[in-house]
Amino acid sequence: MIQLKHISKYYPVGFGKNEILKDIDLTIFEGEFVSIMGPSGSGKSTLLHILGLLEEPSQGEYLFEGEPVHKMNEKKRTQLHRGSIGFVFQAYHLIDELTVYENIETPLLYKNIPSAERKSRVADVLDRFNIVAKKDLFPNQLSGGQQQLVGIARAIVAEPRVILADEPTGNLHSDQAKEIMELFRQLNQRDKITIIQVTHSELNATYGQRIIQIRDGKIA
């Protein structure tokens, strides 16, 4: 489903360059649950951003479902964001001015889904995540775990085929983290969503089927 060929990423620094990723080759198959691990500054977040089309590689090819991403225009990328890729962030990044319900609904607005269907889909997700009672609260009225739950709900409501999660449990204590990871596993197994997560935690990494170690910009 995802294929990276000779991907490099570097930034110019002075007269030289700072290489973050060096010649990465990586294939991720449909339905996989992959954990990317590595020390701070090893380039794992950059890799995730490239996978999520938020950053462009300096060199190399990226095929998403066989299509070359580096040749896509802005519109096509936006389409992928709308339909195929869901994001979960360490800091949740919910929109403070929107209620739980509205936060989850927002991706559907961008997909131009009719009102009635939006309602039923948001209701389904709320129901499934057991947060119906919280739907009219604002993010700052929720605990971290609850916020992340909403974050995941928002990521899956548009029914993406892949979820990219950047240290999704980094700000949570272990009980909450476990709950979130269970949820990921469930999404992967029951809903067949491909999941790629960046994590520091060995424990969390075990939820996935494959671990990719990155060190100094290279897959170890």
Binding site: S45, H49, G52, L54, E55, E74, K75, T78, Q79, H81, R82, G83, F87, F89, A91, H93, L94, I95, D96, E97, L98, E102, T106, P107, L109, Y110, K111, R154, A158
Partner: protein, 800 residues
């Protein structure tokens, strides 16, 4: 989707209450100023724009060229109108309108003093003033007929039918009301409350043994002509030249003058009251007003831009998340712009309330009666709303482009920092705001100083406690000698004189004067003051050479002149006393000796220089009695005493008087208005700019909470922190000052150029403006800086 945007926008507005209030209030004040100014400017530009024939109506204006200098004016001689129509076939219609000051109108036992004007019979077919009663074609045909407005009809006759009523005018003749015209709109110069038929003038002149055929005698008489569609003005020009050659050229050249006639489109009259070529061009003032309006709204827009972009880091996450969820940049732009439009719409509603609130004040300084919600204003309000949407688009576009361009990666990593170029733009906007505000403050100081200068400048005569009473009407002129004697017996009255010149308003006549022996084409256009022997004494005009008139010299009442210094200069007289000059008022001439030279004095506004003037003694032809009251003593009582004496002798006309100082102050109505507007709007500009500064200081202190906490932990004092937070802003204000000084210096000098007597733009004016701006800005900022500096660092660091 739009609903979604508005919901988010409203919640943002509610969450950032102070910022929202600053934005809405700032924009509302700006828009309210704009509304009032636009109302005024629109009215000024729209004078007499409601006549269906308007495009083809022209006013005939004049020009006099003498010794290479050309003067332009708008008055035309009596015969010009009818002769033009008879002789030039392209002219469809000509109508004369003559203003004749005020008159006393008597109906039964009631007396009213109101303006008097005469118009030719074609007036109501040329211009669009609908009649409520009467026939437009015939209303002004016969002598001794008149047309009045509904307002006047109501005032004079109450609810009685005015048609056919007889009014006595100035106790001289009876006049019959033949029609009632609908009340005049605000935007007309042509329309008059009371119009008598021009045939009346003809009868009156004929009765007095005079002739209307005076080709070089000027009254306050205006000639309008109507041309058929599509006549070339170029062709008209040569026809007018031929007309002047036939009738006027000979008389003019005998006085060494070249006379010319010109046409001025009706639409230009109001802003060019003395013809298109005359120096007085009121459009300049309108440009200044428009500039003020734009400046104020700009300051408010800049606030909005700055406050939105300064909060970019708070909105950045939202932008990043939305993009990641598949929002296109276009959609984000729409979202942010619609937020701005929502905000400006709220401001618009508030602005209407503010405009209504300040309408009475505005009416007072403009001397007009505007209404915002009048019928004619409905499309206008639409325009205004359109304007507010444009303001929203303008002020929303920069933040929208900026915010929507944020890259999600940079934002979502959490390391979002306002980039250098953004800070630079923010600083530029603040500098622009304060530069404008300081320029407005300097302008206010200069305009007020100039007005003060005018008010305090010694005019060459003593303007205080000098009262003018009109003596042209009723029995005053006949009895002036007895009245004068009786008045002089009053303890509060020092001197009394009669003359043809009302200081502060007008000088009696302007005629050519020439050195005896020189040919008439060397004559000088001279203001001629005719008075009795007490004129210089009463007005307190000083002589620099020679002596005052005295009844002891038998020649003084016939063959003597006193000239002013400007006259000496104009005639190039080295030893003026004893020189002989000749006065040519047209119908006769008078020769005599110069017996004295008076110091120059300004009888009217100080915007123009002193013109050459002579003073002669006469026995009649007076129009004004000037009374010098004693300094000290109860002014009200002094005036009451004068009135008591007056009423003993003059029973047929009400006692109307004016203080010369008031009449003089009235000359500066335009400048006064400008000063009031500058004063108010510069205050508002500073207020809005400071509101923005306040908002910015809140946002920046908030963003630097952590830094402040760390600095405090490291030992920074409250003063250190306050200075740290204030100095950036103060530097901006300093830069603004440096920009504002040369700009305002240039602009104000340019403004002052128009006036003959003017102040210099001085350094203290900039200093005052600068210090004012600095202090106000400092107070605004330190409010927030001190608060931030006093915050307990433990608290601010823990929240991170």
């Amino acid at each position: 989707m739009l609903k979604h945007y508005f919901r988010v926008a409203l919640r943002h507005l509610r969450r950032q209450q102070i910022i929202t209030v600053i934005n809405i209030l700032g924009l509302a004040i700006g828009m309210a100023c704009c509304m009032l100014i636009v109302l005024f400017v629109r009215n000024e530009y729209g004078f007499d724009n409601f006549h269906p024939n308007g495009r083809n109506i022209y006013r005939v204006t004049n020009s006099f060229t003498k010794a290479g200098e050309t003067n332009y004016g708008s008055n035309t001689q009596w015969p010009v109108g009818p002769y033009l129509k008879n002789e030039i076939s392209d002219i469809k219609e000509s109508v004369r309108v003559m203003n004749a000051g005020t008159a006393l109108y008597t109906y039964q036992d009631k007396q009213y003093v109101d303006p008097l004007a005469y118009a030719d019979a074609g007036f109501f077919s040329m211009f669009n003033f609908p009649l409520v009663k009467g026939n437009a074609q015939t209303a002004l045909q016969e002598p001794y007929t008149m047309v009045i407005t509904e307002k006047i009809a109501k005032k004079y006759f109450g609810n009685d039918d005015p048609i056919g009523k007889i009014l006595k005018v100035d106790n001289q003749f009876d006049c019959r009301v033949t029609a009632v015209v609908k009340d005049l709109p605000l935007n007309t110069d042509v329309g008059k409350e009371i119009l008598l038929s021009y045939a009346t003038v003809e009868q009156l002149i004929k009765k007095g043994g005079g002739s209307m055929e005076q080709w070089y005698n000027f009254n306050d008489n205006t000639t309008y002509i109507q041309l058929p569609e599509g006549v070339s003005l170029h062709k008209m020009e040569s026809q007018l030249q031929g007309f002047v050659d036939r009738h006027i050229k000979r008389i003019a050249s005998s006085l060494g003058e070249v006379f010319g006639l010109d046409l001025q489109p009706l639409a230009n009259i109001h802003l060019h009251p003395y013809g298109d070529k005359n120096k007085q061009d009121n459009t300049h003032l309108l440009y200044i007003y428009i500039a003020i309006a734009i400046f104020i709204i700009l300051i408010a827009c800049f606030n909005f831009m700055n406050l939105v972009t300064a909060r970019a880091n708070e909105r950045a996450i939202e932008v990043g998340v939305r993009k990641v969820m598949g929002s296109e940049r276009r959609q984000l732009i729409i979202q942010f712009v619609s937020e701005a439009v929502l905000l400006t719409s709220l401001s618009f509603v508030l602005a209407i309330f503010l405009a209504l609130l300040f309408m009475p004040w505005f009416d007072k300084i403009t001397g007009k009666e505007f209404g915002l919600f009048t019928l004619g204003n409905i499309p206008f309000l639409g325009y205004l709303f359109g304007m507010s949407v444009i303001v929203g688009l303008l002020s929303g576009s920069y933040p929208a482009l900026y915010l929507s361009g944020l890259l999600p990666v940079a934002v979502l990593k959490g390391g979002f920092k306002t980039s250098g170029s953004r800070v630079w733009i923010r600083k530029t906007l603040v500098i622009a705001q304060f530069s404008i505000a300081i320029i407005l403050i300097v302008a206010t100081i200069v305009v007020y100083s100039q007005l003060r200068f005018w008010q305090n400048k010694y005019l060459g005569f003593d303007k205080d406690r000098l009262v003018n009473v009109n003596i042209t009407s009723g029995s005053a002129e006949k009895n002036y000698k007895v009245i004068k004697e009786d008045l002089l017996r009053q303890p509060g009255v020092l001197h009394v004189t009669v003359s043809n010149t009302a200081m502060g308003r007008y000088v009696g006549s302007v005629n050519p004067v020439v050195k005896e022996g020189d040919s008439e084409d060397k004559s000088i256009v001279t203001s001629v003051i005719m008075g009795d022997f007490d004129l210089l004494k009463t007005l307190d005009i000083k002589l620099t050479k020679g002596r005052d008139f005295s009844p002891g010299f038998s020649t003084d009442s016939n063959n003597a002149f006193i000239v002013n210094e400007a006259m000496v200069k104009a005639m190039n007289l080295h030893d003026p006393i004893g020189q002989r000059i000749k006065w040519l008022p047209g119908f006769t001439e008078r020769k005599g000796e110069i017996i004295g030279v008076a110091k120059d004095f300004n009888y009217s506004t100080l915007t123009v220089p002193v013109s050459p003037a002579i003073y002669i003694v006469r026995n009649d032809g007076f129009s004004v009695m000037s009374i010098r009251l004693a300094k000290g003593g109860d002014l009200t009582k002094q005036v009451a005493d004068v009135e008591t004496v007056w009423k003993k002798y003059v029973t047929d006309y009400p006692f109307t008087y004016s203080f010369v100082s008031d009449d003089l102050a009235h000359q500066y109505v335009n400048q006064d208005r400008l000063a009031s507007l500058f004063g108010t709007f510069s205050m508002l500009a500073i207020l809005i700019a400071c509101m923005g500064l306040f908002g910015l200081s809140i946002l920046i202190a908030r963003q630097r909470t952590k830094e402040i906490g760390i600095r405090k932990v490291l030992g920074a004092s409250t003063t250190n922190i306050t200075r740290l937070l204030s100095q950036d802003f103060m530097q901006l204000v300093m830069v603004s000052l440096m920009i504002a000084v040369p700009v305002s210096w240039y602009l104000m000098n340019k403004w002052l150029q128009d006036f003959a007597y003017r102040i210099n733009v001085e350094w203290w004016m900039f200093l005052t403006a600068g210090i004012m701006a600095m202090i106000i800005a400092l107070v605004t900022i330190s409010f927030q800086s001190v608060k931030a500096a006093l915050t307990n660092p433990v608290k601010s660091l823990r929240t991170e």
